[in-house]
Symmetry: none
Subunit: 210 residues, 2 copies
DNA sequence: GGTCGGATAGCAAATTTTTGCTATGCTTTT
DNA sequence: AAAAGCATAGCAAAAATTTGCTATCCGACC
């Protein structure tokens, strides 16, 4: 049922070990008859350029060495209008996933997904439907509901704290009274109910506030 | 020459897709006859516990979901004294690689390495020699002068601080005197010459120490 | 057999952060 | 116009962190 005729999968991931290994996985389970993997953007694009118009399924890593897979989308579309693009990412940030989603690729999969999710994704994409990893769906939902809102000014100060600036240093840089900086800290710490600046910074990082 | 009899490879990587795929790679090229992959620490440890004393080659991801592969080393050693441990990491930070090296695992490989490097690594490890990816060797050479070193214990404490634990909390969790925790903080802060814990944490994050 | 570094622990003092409470302008929303 | 929320600022006390200095134990290395 999954053994569609002459479908080609192409993988681009700068972690060569993953690219090579993943191509074996796609072959082994009969998900594709032909699989080609690349760990360099240039080779990948060259191959794509020579691929003509045949139907191609592209597995694209989000984090490439110097850029993100997103930046390749226009080029991919130019080279092969019918290509299906599925993003693979190890990211855990709702903000990043939302960004990815906004680009509307054919699929978005977590690198932590299991074989069944991979198969579901392929089944959907083969029916011209879009697929997003249930794990990421959940991530997005949770983000909406648990969102603690920091004001723009608070986030600005928070960035200083996260860079290691003390109260005094932050006040100096932003031309504020140290009392004001303390007040901002206090307010943010109250919002997430914590007792120290490191906890606040950790929270902010985990929730991609900064 | 590579087809040693009844050698077992075990993979632990929280990116299930990689773990599964990589196991296929190890099998396909005859690098191992038996390969088992896990994406959860618990399952991995349970398997290891039941493995008896046979020779095992462990491929360990550096970044696990809540901790680093490093923290599993004692447990691995306890469960199987003869296990060979090879780290796989996508990290690019000299400091992190140095840290990894200090633990003296049997092998350290970049996830961006090619098949030949993987084979060289295995050849070395099978001769009871230690192997480090040439790419990482170069990375370390280039940064020898500016390298700041944290000890394993320091990094352990650092992770607590980064999670927001105070001195008292950290001491409590690790069954230490708060004086000891202070001493560790002090030492690390002296190493990077900073005056507050947030600066230390920021440094550690930027240099991928934690 | 001695030196060195790492992990442990302590005291006292200086400094910074955190907390409890208050207050004044300034927008935005109702 | 009142209310609500944001940015600003202050004082004082409590708590935590940082610093200067010392010291023991242990294992590794020469």
């Amino acid at each position: 049922m999954l053994t569609n005729d002459s479908q080609l999968a192409v993988i681009l991931d700068d972690h060569g070990l993953f690219a090579t290994s993943f191509s074996l996985l796609l072959e082994k389970y009969g998900l594709f008859h032909f699989v080609k993997s690349f760990d360099r953007k240039d080779d990948f694009l060259r191959f794509l350029a020579s691929s003509g118009t045949q139907k191609i399924y592209i597995f694209l890593d989000y984090y490439l060495s110097e850029e993100t897979g997103l930046s390749l989308l226009p080029e991919i579309d130019r080279l092969n209008k019918d290509a299906k693009t599925i993003f693979l990412t190890s990211a855990l940030s709702p903000l990043l996933i939302q960004t990815l989603k906004n680009y509307n690729p054919d699929g978005i999969l977590s690198k932590s997904c299991n074989l069944d999710t991979l198969k579901s994704c392929l089944a959907s994409v083969r029916l011209d439907q879009h697929f997003i990893d249930p794990f990421f769906e959940k991530l997005l939902e949770n983000h909406q509901s648990t969102a603690v809102r920091f004001t723009p000014r608070e986030i600005e100060l928070l960035k200083h704290f996260a860079r290691g600036d003390t109260i005094a240093k932050t006040a100096e840089k932003l031309f504020l009274s140290s009392h004001t900086v303390v007040a901002h800290r206090r307010k943010m710490m109250a919002k997430i109910n914590c007792q120290s600046i490191t906890q606040l910074i950790t929270f902010a990082r985990e929730h991609e506030v900064i």
